[in-house]
């Protein structure tokens, strides 16, 4: 034992343990996100049980189990739970009860000792609603314009059919509201701006003014037609309703146009659960958020993240690559260049929030303000570019990721064996030709690696974006069918910010928790994928040049 201690082996074991702990932390974290994220979409069984605290009435509990935990009896007693003095530990379950509008409590803890037998009645139904979160209960009858049309056995198929019809109507309504009316509003705003611009320039003639009035009238007429169609659709969609029995026996009538989807998890087979699961996952990725982002999908956030990263790539790639080529190939090597190079590399370690501060001050307020005064005076005092937006976010991130691209490209250029360069020069090629026809194509994979790493970093950054362009809820996507199609001045939604906002700033943080895990999962998957690609390319590249230079 003493000898073993003296040999230093214990230290080796401890060092090994450090690696083990780090790795377990890393994979534990990934597992946590994976399980919680993917678990969000699984149709969990709905429990029905009776809860009876000593000295209180028996209450019916209907809901899904969120988690269970074991606590000391003492801390529960301090929290006011009627736990006997001699009981040391207590298990409690957190249930999602839904029915926020009926009971006012969505999530509630129940102490295991007072909870009766758990049952899973087949007809327990979960309704995902457009407002007020989920509803849990048993369907009683389907109504059409107030009168019962289905009950008992035929209820569920009838309800499904009617829900499909209503959802179709609802989609149509959304389409009109979001796209068609949105278009008209966009064009109306453009007319206003055109008119204001003419006024500012002093070119507003009565003739022009009449044109503006005509254009506006035409749009108003178009709007009236749409509005009429919308009204009929809304009336149609409001026809059907379903009466549900909530926990405790209360009957609640819910209009079908308030329901997104409905399922009976206790009555589903495993394959149908899988189908449901995949569907939910797709709805999540391609759906729009509802209820202050705590329900529904995250499509605008994904779209915003991707658009911003793309615009950033378009900016950062040429500049990063050119800067690297300059530093490596053209600049005079010496102490000054070494200083510059170290400084550029070190910018990668500067906190991202500093870039955000710079972006807000220099890009948004200074540059954006100047652009507004010069090019968009008609919109003032409402700022166009003088406010945080997509372009400034992308530009800030481009600045933030420039060092990554420069470092990676330089590394790639340095790896090109000098024999190749000399060969090209010896054949009479100019320096430029050698560079662009021989060296740069060979270094392309390195540039790709740099770009991918930059994208991975940019996709995960949130702090600077909070200052330069990301918002909680953007009314429109940055790309749409209206000229000029890419709206660089618009504010965007972002996956990372979505996590921060929904997880920490939302009124129903608990209800949204699962959704945030799912969002985090998407973000992690995206970034892990990008990084793995970069690593693969880099390794492949190293092997290739190792072979060539040997």
């Amino acid at each position: 034992m003493k000898e073993w201690w003296k040999s230093g082996s214990p230290w080796i074991w401890l060092n090994g343990g450090a690696v083990t702990v780090s790795m377990i932390m890393v994979f534990g974290l990934l597992m946590l996100i994976l399980i919680r994220g993917f678990g969000h979409f699984w149709p969990h069984g709905v429990v029905q049980a009776y809860y009876e605290l000593p000295g209180a009435d028996r209450v019916e509990v209907v809901g899904t189990l969120r988690r269970s935990e074991t606590l000391t009896g003492q801390s529960m007693r301090e929290a006011g739970a009627p736990i006997p003095e001699d009981q040391l530990v207590v298990t409690r379950h957190l249930f999602k009860l839904g029915n926020r509008d009926v009971t006012g409590r969505d999530f509630t803890y129940f102490i295991d000792d007072f909870l009766g037998e758990w049952r899973y009645p087949k007809d327990m139904t979960v309704l995902e609603r457009r407002e007020w979160g989920d509803f849990y209960g048993q369907p009683l009858r389907v109504l059409e314009a107030g009168s019962t049309v289905a009950e008992g056995a035929e209820l569920w198929p009838e309800f499904q059919a009617r829900l499909a019809r209503t959802n179709q109507l609802y989609d149509e309504i959304r389409q009109i509201e979001r796209r068609d009316i949105g278009n008209i509003n966009f064009r109306l705003e453009r007319v206003r701006l055109d008119q204001r611009r003419a006024e500012l320039r002093g070119t507003l003639t009565p003739e022009l003014e009449r044109q503006f009035v005509e254009r506006r009238a035409a749009l108003d007429a178009e709007y009236a037609v749409l509005q009429e169609r919308l009204d009929t659709l809304i009336d149609e969609a409001r026809r059907d309703a379903i009466v549900m029995r909530a926990a405790g026996g209360q009957e609640v009538t819910i209009r079908l146009d308030r329901i997104v989807k409905a399922w009976q998890p206790n009555n589903m087979s495993i394959p149908s659960k899988v189908v449901f699961y995949v569907q939910s996952f797709f709805d999540f990725i391609f759906g729009y958020p509802r209820e202050a982002n705590t329900e529904g999908g995250i499509f605008p956030a994904i779209f915003g993240t991707v658009t911003m990263v793309l615009v950033m790539s378009i900016i950062v790639t040429p500049f990063g690559v050119l800067a690297a080529i300059y530093l490596r190939e053209y600049a005079k090597q010496g102490p000054l260049l070494r200083t510059i190079r170290i400084s550029v590399y070190n910018l990668a370690g500067v906190p991202s929030i500093v870039f955000g501060v710079f972006g807000l001050g220099f890009f948004v307020y200074l540059t954006g303000g100047a652009i507004d005064r010069t090019f968009f005076p008609e919109a003032l005092p409402a700022p166009t570019f003088g406010t945080p937006g997509l372009f400034w976010a992308s530009l800030t991130l481009a600045l933030l990721t420039l060092p990554v691209v420069i470092v990676s490209t330089e590394e790639g250029l340095a790896r090109i064996p000098s024999t190749i360069r000399q060969g090209s020069l010896a054949l009479g090629a100019t320096k430029g030709e050698t560079l662009w026809k021989v060296v740069v194509p060979l270094a392309t994979p390195a540039m790709m690696t740099g770009l991918i790493l930059a994208i991975a970093r940019a996709a995960g950054e949130v702090a600077p974006l909070m200052l330069v362009g990301v918002v909680k809820l953007a009314p429109t996507l940055p790309i749409d069918g209206n000229f000029p199609f890419i709206h660089l001045e618009r504010k965007i939604m972002h996956l990372g910010f979505h996590i921060y906002d929904v997880g920490f700033q939302s009124p129903h943080a608990e209800a949204a928790e699962a959704l945030v895990y799912a969002t985090a999962l998407i973000l992690v998957l995206l970034i892990v994928m990008l990084n793995l690609t970069a690593i693969t390319i880099r390794n492949h590249l190293r092997e290739k040049y190792r072979a060539e230079s040997d």
Partner: protein, 765 residues
């Protein structure tokens, strides 16, 4: 092939371009080469310039904080209103600095242009017949509320307002007098006759309070409340007189604070009587305070905006700030001297507080005007303005212009000031400051409050301490794990395992910190709160368990041991760590029951350690996790690249592999490990999202593991979007960004230089 080959019979045509074309080609190629050279250079330099711009821009935004205050006499105008020779009792300036106002002792008010002195408008208040103006009093500057006192004992409060109109898009400002209690002068009590030596007016919640004092030391006070009759629309004024205790000496100055709790009466010897008027029917003198040194007297006194503190000027030229500070034991507020300002060369004659912040102008008997700022306790400037004693000063609500009147009364001197950031002094940002309403000087960051009179508190100390605290706890967790892991991975671990471990850990560096922050705040914080004993048990169980397992491993029969080659210890430990972790979690409630009376969180509170759910421990864990990959990656490189012949030499001389690590590898690689730690520290200092989400963001100054903090970076993220561009707060946030930038830049540069040296040393070994 055959088709391309020229026929042997035909004369050979050269496939090469002729001379002329070659020349042209060469030229084009030369041009292209030049374009490439200069284009690339331009782009490269542009990028470098853009990155350098970050530094310059942050400096540029921060610089105005350091700019010295400018204050100079710009020009002189003659005192307007020559046809009424009555002396000036008060001067004002409007917020657009286009209208000056002069209140004269005849009850006339003249509005003039401060640029030319030309008269814009003249008003006259009703002076009772056979009476003259004997006193003039005013409320805080921002209220624009004044009161005239007449020789027959009546008073007349009036308000000065400015109306803005925009005929044809041009702003026109017109001054307007309003009389909240009607245009007729009225009495305040019957005891004090019309020989007021001091007069004051305050608008309180219940109405207007006017108080006057005289040569005998008697003080009269009346509360006027205006009530509008709902039916007729008439305004009825009711008057309530209060009898205040007399002071034995002549009253020089009366001041009532806006909460209508205290009336301060100053006598001619510099004694202040603090009279409690919370219940005005039973006023009582709480204390008597000598405001200036013996032998001197108080020659001017006024409230700063918000009426929470009092600026006192003495006949000896002293300027000091006083405020009500609660006694810690008895909880009774006492008027306490908080700070003094640079002495004036002559007796202080007039004090003019600024409208929206805690600055003030002081005039003295030698004609010097001083500009002081209370919060940062600095005297920004003192300039001679006039040869005569200063009698009145008016400052504009935006603090850029001031009117000064000397006793000569022939001229008004106009002072231009540029003083946008008086609060940002070194001591204001980094020292303890005695803020209004506080018991002692403190470090506080509180950037905004409910109203104009709020004293913003810009101490960078809580934020810096918070930043260091967060980074420190993160490093405490991250550094040992990362360095030990790096040593093991680089030196002991089997190659095939290393190829998995290193990329996995490096991949974690790219994990968005917003996810770590989210997990820390939503999952880890409540988990730790409910299972506090885990912290202790993991810290004890894991190392012991690993050592026990390691020792047990040597006791196993060789046949089993040889199935696993050396270098796989870490893999063997996986089940050990998992089991121990599980044990720690399941035993947690039982440990609480056995040692901490059932609840460790409660136990902490009982022993006097405050516990927040989101605290430094959570931040330390999450951020420690975030810095592990950074430190690990660089340290691992440093250890791995130690030349093999060094270690082999050591081993050949009979050292065990651990002795080789301690004696050879670590000394050689230590600069690399050091630079890894520095880079990790730089990352921890600037990390924003984790701190934002996992700490409570309360700017406190302590190193308690179980309380939160606010860091510089998180503070910027929270506050920058809501500040007004160009203000002191905005620039201080830029300053903190600059501090972060320079700090991390220096750390990283130092680390980079150390690493480059190390690389050279390895190459030479």
């Amino acid at each position: 092939m055959a088709a391309i080959l020229p026929n042997e019979n035909t004369p050979r045509a050269s496939l090469l371009p002729n001379t002329e074309r070659r020349e042209r080609l060469r030229k084009i190629r030369g041009i292209r080469d030049g374009i490439s050279r200069y284009g690339v250079a331009a782009a490269g330099l542009g990028v470098i310039f853009a990155l350098a711009l970050i530094f310059f821009y942050l400096f540029y935004e921060t610089f105005p904080l350091l700019k010295p205050v400018s204050m100079e006499v710009a020009y002189e105008i003659s005192v307007p209103g020559d046809e009424e020779p009555a002396p000036t009792v008060h001067l004002t300036l409007d917020r657009f600095e286009g209208i000056g106002g002069r209140f004269s002792a005849s009850g006339g008010i003249t509005f003039f242009s401060p640029e030319t002195g030309s008269i814009l408008m003249r008003k006259q208040v009703n002076v009772p017949e056979d009476a003259t103006v004997t006193a003039f009093g005013r409320s805080e500057s921002r209220r624009s509320l004044f009161v005239y006192g007449f020789s027959d004992g009546s008073v007349l409060p009036l308000k000065l307002e400015y109306d803005q109109t925009f005929p044809e898009g041009v702003r026109v400002v017109t001054p307007r007098l309003s009389f909240p209690l009607g245009e007729e002068p009225m009495r305040i009590g019957d005891r004090v006759q019309g020989d007021y030596t001091a007069l004051t007016v305050v608008e309180g919640r219940t109405g207007y309070v006017v108080a006057g004092g005289n040569q005998d030391g008697s003080i009269a006070m009346a509360l006027f409340s205006a009530r509008r009759n709902m039916l007729t629309g008439d305004v009825q004024i009711s008057r309530q007189d209060y009898e205040l205790p007399a002071i034995s000496r002549p009253v020089r100055q009366l001041l009532i604070n806006e909460t209508l709790r205290n009336l301060f009466a100053v006598d001619d010897q510099g004694m202040l009587y603090n009279i409690d008027i919370v219940d005005p029917n039973r006023p009582r003198i709480i204390e008597r305070v000598q405001l200036v040194a013996d032998g001197a007297s108080v020659t001017a006194a006024d409230f700063l905006v918000g009426s929470r503190s009092l600026i006192v000027g003495g006949s000896d030229g002293s300027v000091s700030q006083w405020m009500l500070v609660r006694d810690e034991e008895t909880n009774v507020p006492h008027l306490t001297r908080v700070r003094g300002f640079r002495q004036h060369p002559g007796a202080v004659t007039y004090i003019e507080p600024e409208y929206t912040r805690k600055g003030f102008l002081v005039g003295d008997a030698t004609g010097t005007v001083g500009l002081h700022y209370a919060t940062s306790s600095v005297t920004l400037k003192q300039i001679p303005v006039s040869g005569q004693p200063i009698t009145r000063i008016a400052v504009s609500p935006i603090n850029r212009l001031a009117l000064v009147k000397g006793e000569d009364s022939e001229a008004l001197r106009v002072i231009r000031m540029d003083n946008p950031h008086p609060q940002a002094s070194l001591s204001g940002l980094w020292g303890r400051v005695w803020y209004e309403g506080r018991g002692q000087p403190e470090f506080i960051w509180q950037s905004s409050g409910a109203d104009d009179a709020f004293e913003s508190k810009f101490s960078l100390v809580p934020l810096t301490v918070g930043t260091l605290k967060a980074a420190l706890f993160a490093m405490l967790l991250g550094t040992p794990l990362a360095i030990m892991g790096a040593i093991y991975t680089a030196y002991f671990m089997a190659g095939s395992m290393r190829r998995i471990v290193k990329p996995s850990l490096e991949l974690m560096e790219a994990l968005p910190t917003v996810i770590l922050g989210f997990l820390a705040g939503i999952w880890l914080a409540p988990f730790i709160e409910n299972n506090l004993p885990i912290l202790v048990s993991v810290l004890v169980l894991l190392p012991l368990g690993m050592l026990a397992f390691g020792y047990g491993w040597t006791r196993l029969p060789t046949s089993i041991r040889h199935m696993i080659p050396p270098g796989w210890e870490a893999a063997l430990l996986v089940p050990v760590v998992l089991v121990l972790g599980w044990v720690a979690i399941t035993t947690s409630p039982w440990i609480e029951v056995a040692f901490f009376g059932g609840s460790m969180r409660q136990w902490f509170t009982d022993v006097g350690i405050p516990y927040d759910q989101r605290n430094a421990l959570i931040v330390g864990l999450a951020m420690g996790f975030a810095v592990i990959p950074t430190i690990f990656s660089i340290a691992e490189d440093a250890v791995f690249n130690v030349p093999k012949h060094l270690t082999q030499g050591s081993l050949a001389l009979g050292a065990t592999s651990w002795q080789t690590v301690v004696g050879v590898v670590l000394p050689t690689a230590s600069p690399g490990i050091f630079s890894a730690v520095m880079i990790g520290f730089g990352r921890a200092v600037g990390e924003t999202m984790i701190v934002l989400m996992a700490s409570g963001n309360s700017p406190i100054v302590n190193f308690n593991l179980f309380e939160g903090m606010r860091t510089l970076a998180a503070n910027i993220a929270v506050e920058l979007p809501e500040t007004s561009v160009g203000g002191t707060h905005f620039r201080i946030l830029f300053l903190s960004a600059l501090v972060l930038l320079i700090l991390t830049f220096v750390l990283n540069t130092a680390a980079e230089i150390v690493r480059q040296r190390l690389r050279k040393r390895y190459a030479s070994l």
